[in-house]
Point group: C2
Chain length 116, copies 2
């Protein structure tokens, strides 16, 4: 294996390839979007901030499961939280989340329409 020559291409690509750490952070970010529950939560928060138990009811899932996922989203700074008495409201932290998901959707939709 690897007997024919492609050193020219390798050299060029190596120059442009971002650092390992950055690419690792990037895939970590996408990893977060790569779960249905988390996508649903994020999408729900598009519309309005929500407390944990409302999200749980919306998705038909345990409060615990939602809490665990919210923690992941919070650690990644994708959502923020705000306390109001006993309840804690979560919200999208910035608009990049919207753009990233919107872009993903655009890709999907193009796929769907191409199939027809």
């Amino acid at each position: 294996m690897m007997e024919h020559d492609h050193n020219a291409i390798l050299k060029k690509v190596r120059q442009e390839l971002p650092a390992d750490e950055l690419l690792s952070d990037l895939s970590d970010l996408f990893k977060i979007f790569g779960d249905t529950t988390r996508c649903k939560i994020l999408y729900a928060l598009f519309e309005s901030e929500m407390c944990v138990c409302a999200i749980a009811e919306l998705l038909g899932m345990t409060q615990s499961a939602i809490s665990h996922q919210l923690r992941i989203l919070k650690d990644a700074d994708l959502v923020g939280k705000r306390r109001e008495g006993k309840t804690i409201y979560y919200f999208l932290s910035d608009d990049h989340v919207r753009t990233i998901i919107a872009q993903g959707f655009e890709h999907l939709i193009e796929d769907y329409t191409e199939r027809e």
Copy 2:
């Protein structure tokens, strides 16, 4: 749990929430980006099409490992391939891939600059 009232919000969000299947497809798409190896491959293909063994050498990984990942990327229509004799060249299938990754990077970079 779930004793206080948030029916109004739930009703509103339920209307706007995309179908389960679509959200599932969306997270499946992001799942593909959520792996360092695949991110690296995609990023490498930004620059130029590449054959399997060149990618393997670039990333310092087994040809087999790369082949497996390329299959996943191909199944998701994120890359295409082209045969030229014994070697097979892979390339990005469309520009959405670029945009999605670029958007992810933008989010990361904003995070980095905010920290200073």
